[in-house]
Symmetry: D2
Subunit: 361 residues, 4 copies
């Protein structure tokens, strides 16, 4: 029945943004500017804050979640409240028949996140994780290159995200910064982020009460490895991810706008040879020293692409590109990292996040 | 009795270089050019190779270690043979009354290294590790800055040494590259490299038979941490060490000859306040955003400074700046890393390398 | 009589922004946000555009300059219209007793600019050139360093401002980009920009009708030289000015936020010696290879500092830091450059811009 | 008669190096190592210096040019003496039937250089300019790319060669550094370096007796321009040439070994439209923002390639890639620059360097 769907495409969907703190204003601005969306409500317990964030826009302001969810003109809810409240708000919204976008991290525990995912799937609603980086032109290009096989098989990923950060006593550097790296890994690794285990090393040399310097090691299938360095104490700012492949290696330097992505056709090849001599292996190694290539990237705001994807997934009745299970995989790694940290860096295995049995709706 | 000592200063010492392979020619060249030294013998089992390395120099060529050690005009022996032979050669040389310089790593096992160190100390002879990087102008300046307190207390060290390397089946990337980082750490950390443990994560995604990508985490006293990333598969070459201190942070970028060392007067301060409120800790954090400073460094060949130090330690009857115990500390960390690697990255504690009870001779 | 002045300090001044095109909105935003100012009017011939730029602010909208100037609550007028209209608007505003801020370039001819400057001085009113770069933290620091003698005597200045620019048929690359470099030169050179002449070389290899690549050479007193390279056809963006001094050299790299200013204590010294030998001069040259230093710079919007300076100069009855004569000096160089361009690069001398005989008012 | 030629290919040619000063040792080392050449004589008025440069090699040492030229086993002479002596030595060598390689600059005056070129052509001998940079892998690749049309039509070239240099009273910065840039320009511009004129601006702010900072502007056919900035007083070292083309732009950054050449598929296109409206030109401009590409370059010593080219040109009886006329074109520009400098930067036209009527021999 294509006619109603086409009608749906041309009529904007209605959205409520819940939470008018740090991130809410960005969501408000992008939903308001998007042709796919009508911003209906800005909802916050603090009415003044909600009013301020709504500004001169046509949206209503509310301090009541239940009233917001009761509205027929609200198709989706974007949750930008503290992580501890995601579970309750998202479940209430889903049960009210609303599609839900949730700020990272998906929830504050794996069981809570799992319940959110399963509820959404059971009800045939979209649950989407706000993994903003995945909607940047750079990460979209990386995913495209990995998918088309430009890098070959992925051998290692090394991600560094360091700068002078806001030392917080209640959140450590892993929960603050690593979700960015992990969500990108989940997006670009074939099949998503499914490490064989997680080892985390952290340091709190200031005695601030939580780790300010952190290292994550994630062994991957086939002998590969991903490693993440997050650091709040670095005077220089680095945001760089290296994805080493069997064919090519990609470097994403997010702070170099003139050459954000470079693809190096350089590497080491191991050619298996069936000889008997002891030096079989060393004989079979060869080096490539080829060209470097840097693709042009469009200028595009990531959040605009993300709210469009949310609308697309609702209208086309499909999983969102960064769906709830993606958020759950990232959450599972963070959770395992916390366990490893308490165990002095021991490798912790994860309960796998399965693919859903059925497609949404 | 200053007179004989002065005489000693003016008469060059005699040295034999044992091993004419990859590193030997560099030692031969530097000993030959040094005013402190007379190069007496180039010794190698392969006479042709020894002759080639000796070149037109006045040195003799020998294929016999015992004949070399029997010579009265040889005061010291520089050992540049494979690691597995260091122990036997060094002990024979020490027992012949010669001072000994040993290529890194000091030995192929901790007990072997320990015996070398203890023998040298018992006999009152200099045993020196060829930690060449420690004699570069950059590392000497770093040590000086740490010693004078310019960085304050060290909070973290992050070292990256990656490039397209020679994949070797018999040596992994830790033993190939990390000795450089570890010897520098031993040199610049107050009291030397004495980590509370070692955790090592490695990957062999090519199936080459040994780790090509490696990460070392070294918890240090006082909540600090050192971390080393070594990698043979990186298409870009990075050699950078960040030393984060409570007062300032130093970045050593060895591939930037125009600004090899930068000192950032930026950081996070945690001011302890004795208040009862719940947000005590967050209130007590402040940020510094001060100047950056890059000291001028002299142009100097590290090996020339190293052979001068060997002469100085022999003449002044003192421990060399990178003495045997320094080599032993580096070896102990490498050994513990290998153990951790086999234990899937578990934190391995080290038997401490004690300071010697008596000063040499 | 300090009392009224203090009162004046606490009462905001009234301003009208004339011209709601490309630059006007920035002025509107900054005047509106400044504690020193009340934005009274946004004036543009196009009422819709004026309304759009005024937005939700308390300012009135007008399409009439004379009505705007007739208002008692307007103390100053900011002119952001096309250059050809600056002269007429500024003179009308000055004659109405208003202080005037003018967008760069000051006017479209030197006589026009000169009349504006002289009228303002005769009437005791502030005429200020909107040389925005001069109010950035970087340029303010450069001026400070030059003034305190940190660089010694200035030997040369080399400025490069290149990127893929908007090729325009009616304005060449000199008039589009060089005012930035020239206004900074005027700000940091002791005594302002007073070259002995101007030579300009331009190229229009696309046949676009105006130069897209341009070079300015400005011989300065004492054998020094300033040189400016502006280019609309460069695929890479460079904004770098080198100021070579007899004591130190400063590099301003505006696209490197982590180290915008570097001061190198490196250089060549020429020590005059009174000897007779033929090689007197080569013998008297020596080199310094000292440290590099990068001062921390505050984060500050330049336009906010500029509107504060406008208020300060009006209240304190003094010349503005980038006063009309500064704008006139920049204009004179641009005008001479156009003459040189027509004369195939011949050196053109300038009529000097004298300092005013009396201080304003 | 191919047989003798093949024989010639297998028998090394004999060469004498005349001049054992700064550059001579490099020539001696490369000729000695080349399979194409037998180094026969090192000739210098100072016998000790000649002996020292010859070292342990099989070459003879001579203080007599005429004796050197009288030898039958010398096929070619490499002249590395001061520029003022090139003319006399080269003519004597040519008249003795020897092929000649001359250090840059070709001679100290254009008539002298012209006589050298014409004599060589008349006698059917190779006269080659030692434009070493033209034999680097980077410049060879640039020439290749220009030739195959990868850049389109060349619109501008901007070359910067600055560092803390050896201030010399008898040679200015143009003669010291610009020959490198000019020889590369001559090599890569289609048809060689044939500017419509030369304008030179220099400054001697130290009062050293010769220009330490210099700018060359070279208008080219078709509205294009080349510009060269040379500077002895820069604390930072830059060696970068930008070649802007109608299709792509190439950046050669010789101090970035990891990415020496970058080709940007970005630029401005001017599409000619035959419309009557006034804004025809602005309407017809479009921008490309394509990929960046960096070709892999082999590791090769330039001088080795140069001595091979000398042998090749002699054996194949053809013009050398950097022949005498190439050296003459560079010399003509330097000479015109000196004239322009004395005329305060006025544009000076050059007598064209014609192509020879006949091919060599």
């Amino acid at each position: 029945m294509p006619a109603p769907q086409e009608a749906a495409t041309s009529t904007p969907l209605g959205v409520a943004v819940v939470g008018a703190g740090y991130w809410g204003p960005n969501l408000v601005r992008n939903f308001d500017a998007a042709p796919d969306w009508d911003l209906r409500v800005v909802c916050d317990l603090d009415a003044d804050r909600a009013r301020e964030v709504a500004g001169h826009r046509a949206a209503d302001v509310s301090t009541s979640l239940s009233e917001t969810l009761a509205r027929d003109d609200v198709d989706a809810v974007a949750v930008a409240t503290p992580a501890a409240t995601h579970h309750a708000i998202a479940l209430e919204a889903l049960r009210a028949g609303k599609h839900v976008l949730v700020e990272k991290p998906l929830a504050d525990s794996v069981p809570a996140g799992r319940e959110m995912v399963e509820t959404a799937e059971r009800l045939g609603l979209v649950l989407m994780a706000d993994h903003t980086y995945c909607y940047t032109p750079a990460v979209r290009k990386i995913r495209e290159l990995v998918e088309e096989g430009a890098l070959g098989q992925i051998l290692y990923v090394d991600s560094v995200r360091i700068n002078l950060g806001l030392v917080q006593p209640d959140v450590d550097v892993f929960w603050d910064l690593a979700p960015h790296d992990l969500s990108v890994l989940d997006h670009v690794l074939p099949g998503g982020l499914r490490p064989l285990g997680v080892a985390a090393q952290g340091a709190d040399p200031l005695g601030a009460g939580s780790a300010c310097v952190g290292y994550l090691t994630l062994p991957l299938a086939g002998g590969a490895v991903a490693h993440v360095h997050v650091n709040w104490l670095s005077p220089t700012k680095i945001r760089r991810m290296v994805i080493g492949g069997s064919s090519r290696t990609l470097v994403w330097d997010d702070l170099n706008p003139q050459q954000r992505i470079s693809i190096y056709d350089r590497g080491v090849d191991l050619v298996q040879q069936s000889v008997d001599s002891a030096d079989r292996r060393s004989a079979s190694i060869s080096y490539r020293l080829g060209d470097t290539w840097s693709p042009a990237l469009p200028e595009q705001e990531a959040l605009a692409a993300m709210v469009a994807e949310l609308a697309g997934s609702i209208r086309e009745r499909r999983r969102a590109r960064t769906d709830g299970r993606s958020g759950l995989r990232v959450l599972s790694v963070l959770d395992a990292a916390a366990t490893s940290l308490r165990a002095r860096g021991a490798l912790v295995t994860l309960e796998p996040v399965e693919q859903p049995l059925e497609i949404v709706r």
